[in-house]
């Protein structure tokens, strides 16, 4: 039908189109006339007014960028500083004989040819009357040399510039973050007034989280210029206000120990001050050097970092999601005691596997042949899986999940770093709403040993450990201790303290068992108890990355490295006066007890019995 009409009406169509073209053309004529009227208004009527303004347009407002705040560790060591660098810069428009001048400068300061080339490239990119750097990082000697001959080089000058520098490089990159050039996207949404004269912004870590405090307030200078745009006189100055300095709770020595302890493995180690929640170490390995980002990292370098299979840019401590494995056992045991479904002394028989009623599938214990008769203490110290399969079933997934949530599993910790993820502690409701499937009992069984859907971050593990050591007092992990402004110091805002109601007797039981993990006769982390004069409470974990088929034996040597289990360890110490909580996750490390526990031991030992004299605070 449509087609027929189309053919029939083609003449009418033509007529309409022609009339529309005429209408559009008339509209265009009217609008162009409007533009011309406005131009006449500006260029004829307003000419005198604007000509005067143009002649008087000699006062230039030039922004004075503020100095960015410095980031210190808890002992006042600089993690992010502003390094003055001298750079030799030229304004090509003010130089009569550019090539001659460059040749003379080259002779005076021994400038390599490629710098000259780079200068020419940059110069062509720059606007007129803008300084173009020729040589950066001038030595004092060079500065002095140039100062003598400066009057003979109009248009050439040495400028002192402040450049952000991270002296500890990759060690603290994931905590401190880095600054970089403001990109197009940011430029559009930034408040222009605050960023006048500044071309860098915090991109990551503390540099980003505390951007507004670190930035400071821009000032400006009103400069009178002559007809050649040269400054003749400063009319007025509004000084910039430097950004606030920030003290972190981080101890860079401990950070180094944590980072080094991870060795060649990929993984993360987090240490938290149990009393305050202050983060003492926050290592994610591999790290990366943040310094190239400051002046603009090359696309090639960035691509190499981004595409590396080890993902150095990925903050594993904050965003890494791992199955917690057996490290959840102390918490699940506590849930069992608190809900009254099991007694600390109650004994079960572990035949080496567990079966749901009327189901053939065998949930195996890590120990072939089983642990025999075990009570809760044995189950924690020897990490008996069958005991926790049964306990999880007795609790039911919803009670288990709810209890774990109280310890921060499946929830953001509230740390003052951008990009934290919440992980996952599954429940029936979660599965119905996110997977649109019912919950199966088998999933409860494996949740009991920290497998299945459960995903935690190293930070969450450390925090949960600290809460346990605190007998239920919930702490908020944080990195910033103090923000020092020129006028006053503001402590960072923390979430209000909460307390999980727990029976002291129950927590005592769990802590005793965790102490046995390290110091007991059959504990899975026995090797770290030597040569220490305090006690550590801990729990090992070995998280499956892939599933071993029924009746197949897990053979560590035979499988690919990438398929090997993650090794985990959580701990706090000293047992009777807890100061530090640690969580270590080692990707594809194999066993928690042999790989992760010694790393945590190193960190705890360095904190509790430092070898060198402590730093003066």
């Amino acid at each position: 039908m449509d087609r027929l009409f189309a053919i029939k009406d083609s003449l009418a169509e033509n007529r309409i189109f022609l009339s529309r073209i005429v209408a559009a053309f008339l509209l265009i004529l009217v609008l162009i006339a409007g533009l011309i009227v406005r131009l006449v208004y500006l260029q004829v009527v307003g000419h005198e007014h604007y000509a005067t303004l143009s002649k008087d347009n000699r006062i230039k407002i030039s922004p004075l960028p503020p100095t960015r705040g410095i980031i210190y560790d808890r002992h006042g060591r600089m993690l992010a500083e502003n390094v003055p660098t001298y750079s030799l810069e030229l304004i090509p428009e003010q130089i009569k004989d550019l090539d001659g001048t460059l040749a003379k400068l080259q002779k005076l300061l021994t400038i390599p040819d490629d710098k000259i080339e780079q200068f020419h490239k940059q110069r062509k990119r720059n606007k007129a009357f803008v300084t173009t750097p020729l040589l950066q990082n001038l030595s004092d000697e060079d500065v002095a040399k140039f100062a003598v001959v400066r009057p003979y080089f109009p248009g050439v000058d040495v400028y002192a510039r402040l450049v952000r520098h991270y002296p500890y490089g990759e060690l603290a990159a994931h905590v401190v973050g880095y600054v970089g050039r403001i990109n197009e996207q940011e430029l559009k949404t930034l408040p222009t007034a605050e960023y006048r004269g500044t071309d860098i912004i915090g991109k990551n870590g503390i540099e980003k989280s505390y951007e507004s405090q670190l930035l400071g307030t821009a000032g400006y200078e009103e400069i009178e210029t002559n007809a050649q745009a040269r400054a003749v006189n400063t009319v007025a100055t509004v000084e910039p206000i430097a950004g606030s300095n920030i003290y972190l709770t981080l101890d860079i020595d401990l950070q180094k120990i944590a980072y080094d302890a991870l060795g060649e493995y990929n993984g993360a180690a987090v240490a938290i001050d149990i009393k305050t929640g202050g983060v003492l170490a926050f290592a994610s390995r591999p790290g990366f050097d943040p310094n190239p980002f400051v002046t603009g990292i090359s696309y090639k370098e960035y691509k190499a970092l981004r595409d590396s299979p080890d993902q150095p840019l990925y903050n594993r401590a904050l965003r890494g999601l791992y199955p917690p494995g057996s490290t959840v056992k102390p918490f699940i045991a506590l849930a069992g005691l608190e809900y009254g479904v099991i007694d600390y002394r109650h004994r079960l028989f572990c035949p080496g596997y567990y079966q749901l009623p009327n189901v053939k599938h065998k949930y195996r214990d890590w120990k072939k042949g089983g642990h025999g008769m075990v009570d809760m203490n044995d189950a924690i110290t020897q990490s008996c899986d069958v005991y926790f399969y049964e306990l999880a079933m007795a609790l039911g997934i919803d009670r288990l999940s709810e209890f774990m949530h109280r310890f921060g599993f499946g929830e953001k910790s509230g740390i003052d770093l951008v990009g934290e993820v919440s992980g996952l502690m599954p429940s029936k409701n979660w599965k119905r709403s996110h997977r649109n499937r019912p919950w199966y009992p088998g999933e409860t069984v494996i949740t009991g040993i920290g497998q299945g859907y459960t995903q935690v971050t190293p930070l969450q593990l450390a925090r949960a450990t600290a809460i346990l050591a605190n007998y239920g007092k919930v702490i908020t992990p944080h990195l910033v201790q103090e923000i020092i402004t020129p006028d006053y110091a503001t402590p960072p805002e923390l979430l209000p303290d909460r307390e999980i109601p727990l029976m002291k007797q129950h927590v005592d039981n769990i802590i005793t068992s965790m102490t046995n993990v390290v110091h007991g006769y059959r504990g899975t982390a026995g090797r770290i108890s030597k040569h220490i004069n305090y006690q550590i409470a801990g729990k090992t974990g070995t998280a499956q990355v892939f599933t071993v088929k029924q009746e197949e034996k897990y053979n560590e040597d035979a499988i690919d490295f990438k398929m090997r289990d993650h090794a985990l360890f959580i701990a706090f110490a000293p047992v009777h006066d807890p100061k530090i909580a640690v969580a270590v996750v080692v990707e594809h490390g194999g066993h928690g007890g042999s790989i992760a526990a010694p790393m945590a031991g190193d960190i705890i030992n360095a904190y509790l019995s430092p070898k060198e004299a402590p730093h003066e605070d």
């Binding site: 409007g34 131009l39 230039k60 222009t192 007809a227």
Partner: protein, 376 residues
């Protein structure tokens, strides 16, 4: 029976003319475009601080743009028609990809990086959107029925919203107006247009609510530039001084002080008209506007001469969108429209829009040079 014959083949013995005709280039349009492009070098030399490297880059981009124009002029418009849907769908996919990738990288969301090649899909959409709407409407009887208008409106709204979200208000306005122009030329009823206008006016307060902070600031600054003399208002104040001080005959080539002394920001890109106005005065401005009017007239002529609905609608829309470019840019520079990032067509420094514009002219030339003489 149809007699196939190329128009204008009987005239012009010149070699160059012959060559251009063989290339399916429309000579009058080509000559005006070349004139404006030449002018752009003259202004850019002054506005860019006599920077030769800048001119070289401008020239290479212009060369690319002209090459694209000639290639497109050579393609039969039936091809464009049959590729409309595929091209539009591809653009939508690319826009979605940009939105998703941008989400992941949490960075700029305009560019799509194919590793060896980076581009802005929103630029393609400036041509794909009118092609799509023209194709859709030409498949139905005209003037369009309400349901067809509604369908075309929805088709158009998808890329407009995706681009506005990037956020790139300038481009999304241009895409919207190019599609709306097709509807207008198809014979959209006046009552409908009045209705939409009233609706838009009524919903201004709601739209205001959805604007981002910086976009609101731009509108506020437009209403009262003196309120923020250091921020966005600065552009408008300085460009008004530049234009006004140019007077009737201007300060002469290379004589502008506003951009020379660095008072006028973005003097080689979006605000280049201010430099032109300062140096060549009112006479120059009227002359430039006349050149633009010539381009639009020729394009409208091509539209009227074209022989099927699709070509007609597309040609009309491309011509009108070109005018929208001119009007929005100059209107912004002389302070009667808010600051949106739209370049002065064919003159501003900056590559991507130049290629799209020339591609549009290539399509117009193709429409004109592939006509067939029909027996009456």
């Amino acid at each position: 029976m149809k007699i196939e014959m190329r128009t204008e083949q009987f005239q012009s013995p010149s070699l160059l003319g012959n060559l251009l005709r063989k290339l399916h280039v429309d000579i009058p349009l080509f000559l005006i475009l070349i004139l404006i492009c030449t002018l752009s070098f003259v202004i850019l030399y002054s506005a860019g601080g006599q920077n030769e490297a800048l001119l070289m880059r401008h020239a290479s981009r212009m060369g690319l743009a002209i090459a694209v124009m000639i290639v497109l002029a050579h393609i039969n418009p039936r091809r464009f028609q049959s590729f409309s849907v595929a091209f539009f769908s591809l653009c939508l996919l690319l826009l979605l990809a940009v939105a998703v990738m941008g989400q992941i990288s949490m960075g700029a969301q305009r560019w799509l990086d194919l590793g060896f090649f980076r581009f802005q899909p929103s630029e393609f959409t400036k041509i794909a959107a009118p092609m799509m709407v023209a194709w859709y409407l030409s498949e139905h009887s005209l003037p369009p029925k309400p349901k067809n208008v509604l369908a075309a409106g929805i088709l158009l709204l998808i890329p407009v919203l995706l681009i506005a979200k990037q956020p790139d208000l300038g481009t999304s306005l241009l895409v919207a107006s190019s599609g709306a122009a097709v509807l207008f030329f198809a014979g959209l009823s006046w009552w409908f247009m009045i209705g939409i206008a009233v609706l838009l006016a009524a919903s201004t307060p709601i739209l205001w609510h959805f604007l981002r902070e910086y976009q609101r600031n731009r509108v506020l600054t437009f209403i009262n530039p003196e309120a923020d003399p250091m921020g966005t208002g600065y552009h408008i104040i300085q460009s008004k001084i530049a234009i006004g001080s140019g007077g009737i005959s201007g300060k002469g080539w290379l004589g502008s002080t506003q951009s020379k002394l660095d008072f006028l920001p973005e003097s080689s890109t979006d605000f280049i008209f201010a430099v032109f106005a300062e140096e060549f005065g009112l006479f120059g401005c009227v002359g430039l506007l006349f050149l633009y009017l010539l381009v639009i007239s020729r394009c409208f002529y091509i539209a009227v001469q074209s022989q099927d609905t699709y070509c007609r609608l597309l040609a009309g829309s491309l011509a009108f969108t070109f005018f929208v470019y001119v009007f929005v840019n100059i209107g912004m520079v002389i302070g009667i429209l808010p600051v949106v990032g739209v370049p002065l067509p064919l003159v501003s420094y900056g590559g991507t829009s130049m290629v799209t514009l020339m591609a549009g002219f290539g399509i117009l030339m193709s429409i004109h040079t592939h006509r067939k003489l029909l027996p009456i």
